[in-house]
């Protein structure tokens, strides 16, 4: 385990922060710009995984297990969220025959 942590520490911490910020931003842009709801779900997953990477890096540098344990919680929550989200999508697809977010614009003002 210690060896593994040392390998994580071979890369400077800033690089982890920049990489996961970049991944997170890609996720945010995906949610905001894409129209297909499945791609939007994927982008939200990308946001959560960027956070996981960040947590693991921080936790390796701090030499504390909290962050790594938190990652498991995030994974479980992400799985639960996707299960619900895909369920909703199936429901919508049955009613509307599309998963395009633009098709769902009946509620306004």
């Amino acid at each position: 385990m210690q060896e593994l942590l040392q390998n994580v520490r071979l890369v400077p911490m800033e690089h982890y922060v920049w990489l996961s910020s970049l991944l997170f931003c890609i996720g945010v842009m995906g949610v905001l710009l894409r129209r297909n709801t499945i791609v939007m779900f994927m982008s939200i997953e990308l946001m959560l995984n960027a956070v996981n990477l960040l947590l693991v890096a921080f936790s390796a540098y701090a030499n504390k297990p909290e962050g790594e344990v938190f990652v498991f919680f995030v994974m479980v929550v992400a799985a639960a969220e996707v299960a619900v989200g895909l369920g909703l999508l199936v429901m919508i697809y049955r009613n509307q025959n599309t998963t395009d977010s633009q098709a769902l614009q009946t509620l306004k003002w």
Binding site: V17, M47, L55, V74, N95, L104, T106
Partner: protein, 456 residues
């Protein structure tokens, strides 16, 4: 802690009630169970124990806010006895999801570790995504669920990234230690993290400019679920928000104070001004709930421990009034086939009871003495003035005058004479009990606000 465990068990028991096809009787499982949970909260009062290496701490603050959310759920379940009459077997699932969501609300008011905060937010939100879409065949319900899901998980993503940055800067997730270490940390990661946590929360409570999802979601979701979102979800989000920012992030005040100041002003004005132009009751209530979030944000700005009591009082009076208005709205829109404001015209003629309840609830929301809404607003303003927040209080007072205008406008509908007055609406006994309880609660809190104000 007993409350948390017991509520989770009740959620599972409610699902079993559905498995054994208890149909409409299944409501009694959560209803009686939650009354039991209220007793454990009273029994745990003043104990202040932390559990599991300080992951959760059940101090009076946590117990009081859990109590409000559970009481609100008891009211909503009681209304549902009438509302879901004749619904199919899946009714127990809806009750179960509501109870599970309240488990999240309890976690959110009792966390003392950022990991528990995130888990609480998700336990609260995920069942509500499903509930918002529980009217499966209705397109508007589908759309509401999807919008809520996308916005909600987007907000949790931002919140989570903020938590990760705070962890990186302070190397701990524990609130007490963050409060200790915060002032010594120089890293910009802490500031950015705090701001991201802040924006995650602002999404959840639907503060301007992050409020655009709320009216759509509130309008599309089934009425009872909207009442659930407007009361329980909002109260829990505020409980967590205040708990976090009045303890762990106080030292970062310079980073978030100005941002929150601007957002409070924007929320107060945007919520109240847009509500003026609404023609549908549900949408009006959505904008009014945005406006009420603005008043509660005012208390956040004071950085004052006592503000917790003021938020608690405000949440309680807002919950009572909102549940009463929603109960009346559900009855009227069911009888009239729409929740448009015009359908309330002449309500007084054949339904004087509903009209009077609506009047008291809307008066309380508008902040007219001697009802609870007036004193809760008064205490918020007083605390804000004590902290020298002069200008924002003026904005809030202007906003509440605008608010009074649209509440009274929709109320005057109900008291106008009209030829198309709704027929006599049958009010079932459970709903009647809830309506009377809400009215009495609004009066009692108006006359004796100190009952709740000094609880914490």
């Amino acid at each position: 802690m007993k409350a948390l465990i017991l509520t989770s068990v009740i959620g599972i028991a409610t699902l079993f009630a559905g498995v054994f096809k208890m149909r409409n009787n299944s409501v009694w499982v959560p209803l009686l169970g939650l009354l039991g949970v209220m007793l454990t909260i009273v029994a745990d009062w003043n104990t202040n124990i932390s559990w599991y290496n300080n992951m959760v701490r059940f101090d009076n603050y946590a117990l009081a806010f859990s109590g409000i959310t559970i009481a609100a759920l008891i009211f909503i379940l009681t209304i549902s006895i009438d509302h879901y009459k004749g619904a199919g077997n899946s009714i127990a699932d809806i009750y179960g999801l509501m109870v599970f969501s309240v488990v999240g609300a309890i976690v959110m008011s009792s966390f003392s570790n950022l990991a528990m905060l995130f888990i609480g937010v998700e336990i609260l939100s995920i069942p509500v995504y499903i509930l918002a879409g529980s009217n499966r065949r209705l397109t508007s319900s589908n759309e509401s669920a999807l919008k809520y899901f996308l916005m909600g998980s987007f907000a949790s993503g931002i919140l989570l990234f903020g938590i990760a940055l705070v962890y990186g800067a302070t190397q701990t997730l524990d609130l007490d230690q963050i409060a200790l270490l915060g002032p010594t940390v120089q890293s910009p990661m802490l500031t950015i993290g705090v701001l991201m946590v802040l924006s995650g929360f602002l999404f959840k409570i639907a503060a301007a400019p992050f409020h655009f999802w709320a009216p759509d979601v509130y309008e599309g979701a089934p009425g009872l679920v909207t009442a659930f979102m407007a009361t329980i979800v909002k109260t829990a989000a505020f409980a967590a928000f205040f708990r976090l920012f009045s303890t762990a992030f106080v030292s970062e005040e310079s980073a978030w104070f100005k941002v929150l100041w601007g957002i409070t002003a924007a929320t107060l004005l945007a919520g109240n001004l847009t509500a003026l132009f609404q023609t549908k009751m549900k949408r009006l209530l959505a904008y009014s709930s945005i406006a009420h979030a603005g008043y509660m944000l005012l208390a956040m700005l004071t950085l004052n421990k006592q503000a917790g009591g003021a938020i608690l009082l405000y949440a309680a009076s807002y919950t009572l009034a909102t549940i009463a208005v929603f109960a009346v709205m559900l009855l009227v829109s069911e009888a009239q086939g729409s929740d448009s404001l015009a359908k309330f015209k002449g309500l007084r003629k054949n339904n004087p009871f509903l009209a009077v309840v609506l009047a008291i609830a809307l008066f309380s929301m508008a902040g007219i003495p001697p009802l609870a809404g007036f004193f809760s607003k008064y205490y918020l303003f007083a605390i804000a003035l004590k902290s020298n927040l002069f200008y924002i209080v003026i904005v809030a007072i202007v906003a509440s005058i605008i608010g009074a205008w649209y509440y009274l406008k929709s109320l005057s509908m109900a008291f106008l004479d009209s030829d198309e007055a709704p027929e006599k609406i049958e009010v079932g006994l459970p709903t009647r009990i809830v309506l009377i309880a809400c009215v009495i609660g609004a009066l009692i809190l108006g006359i004796r606000p100190d009952l709740i104000l000094h609880l914490i």
